[in-house]
Amino acid sequence: MTVALSGKEIATQIEEKFPESVVESSEKAVVVKSDSLLDVAAFLKDTPSLDFDYLNYITAVDYYDHFEVVYMLSSLEHNHSLVIKARCSDRESPALPSVVHLWQGADFQEREIYDLMGIRFEGHPNMKRIFLWEGFPGHPLRKDFM
């Protein structure tokens, strides 16, 4: 069985390394500050005891007052997984750092989120729409899109 690592325990490890980078944590997930997302992601990937070498998926949820981007990470070696989240509250031009250089698997998924949810990933080598055409009005997966 894939062990879902406790978000609370990982959060203390992250806090030790990067103080004040965790917004909140539960058993299921760790919410990290968007400006420390890259550091935390690299830490999770490169620490041998965690070894999160595999990015299962990225997705985004619109909660009206903020967007939540969800990353599920796995280690194929240790067979454990972790969900980390990042939030951005700017509805006009929400942005988060891109993790493509850590996990190339994020490439199309970040473009998809940009296309359908309108969150821009900074540092992505090809940040443009993936399914809809350039010039499509709005981002359909937002809750206020009619």
Binding site: M1, T2, K28, D53, Y54, L55, N56, Y57, T59, V61, D62, V70, M72, L76, N79, V83, W103, Q104, G105, A106, D107, F108, Q109, E112, L116, I130, F131, L132, W133, P140, L141
Partner: protein, 367 residues
Amino acid sequence: MALKTEPFVLNLGPVHPSTHGVFRMRATLDGEVVVDIEPVFGYLHRGVEKLTEQRTYTGIIPLTDRLDYIASMSNNLAYVLAVEKLAGIKVPERAEYIRVIMAELQRVAALLIAVGSFLNDCGAYFTPFLYMFRERERIVDLFEMVSGQRLTYNYMRIGGVSQDIPAEFMPALRKFLDMMPRFLDEYDQLLMQNEILLARAKGVGILTREQAINCSASGPVLRASGVKWDIRKADPYSVYDRFEFDIPTGTVGDCYDRYRQRVAEMRQSLRIIKQAMEQMPPGPVKAEVPHLLHPPVGEAYGRIEAPKGELGFYLVSDNSIAPYRCHIRPPSLINLTALRDMIRGWKVADAIIIFGSIDITVGEIDR
């Protein structure tokens, strides 16, 4: 005087480079060599994720049929598993076994199409494809018996399956299991050492182990690169922990390995079906589930090892009758991440095979 040359842009598609749906590859060529390639999606985008937000949990099941439409049963299963996880529903034993049998039959059917169309791409025009369709037809007949449908089955339900298998199903399945290994041997005889196939696929489009993991590849594509990772073993769902089967892996990660990987996986699926048939207990096939489901506030991710890789549904519930958010993790889309690295440096003709060896369904990419 040097000849002036410039790169040439060639659109492969959007009709289709082979038989995988409406998809376009924008290739930049230097002579016959591909120097860059960009996949272009969106021709089949129907906004399934948005549609789910206005449907009841049960009403979403038919939508899942239309994602990877050559493996509808697998899509059904991944979705209902996610909802059951979200709402904490327990499924009767018999239903679990029926689900496993259907999912594995579906895997064989989908892999037959994958192998068949790959051989088409290699130039073995429609002869092997027709053979594979002959066998797939028998599986489709079996599915028709249980669900009345031949493509979009809509068979699984939250808490079980829509109805028990009919009396004539088991004898027909037994007959299929007797025949199928012989057919697989026949393919091996015809194709495994076929000189043209070896020449075209061996060493072509290599995806290394590290690249495969970094690109989040899954399913046969990941395993053909030598990574022993199968969700049925690594994170068993349903009753997969009760069956004995092996995880075949490749060594090189070239097109030939991916082809062989799929044939090997079909044999393992047949093993699982045989065991599931023997162990299947009698009993109900559907748990008592309220007609309009209100899962508690929260989120869940349910995933399965679909024929193409990790298929998952991420659901967020706000305690209403429709999901607040439903995200689908499509193996077809994510497996294409490595396409550019695999194709660059190869000729146009190889690009078609490399693309074919990944095995995609556009319904799942675009959603």
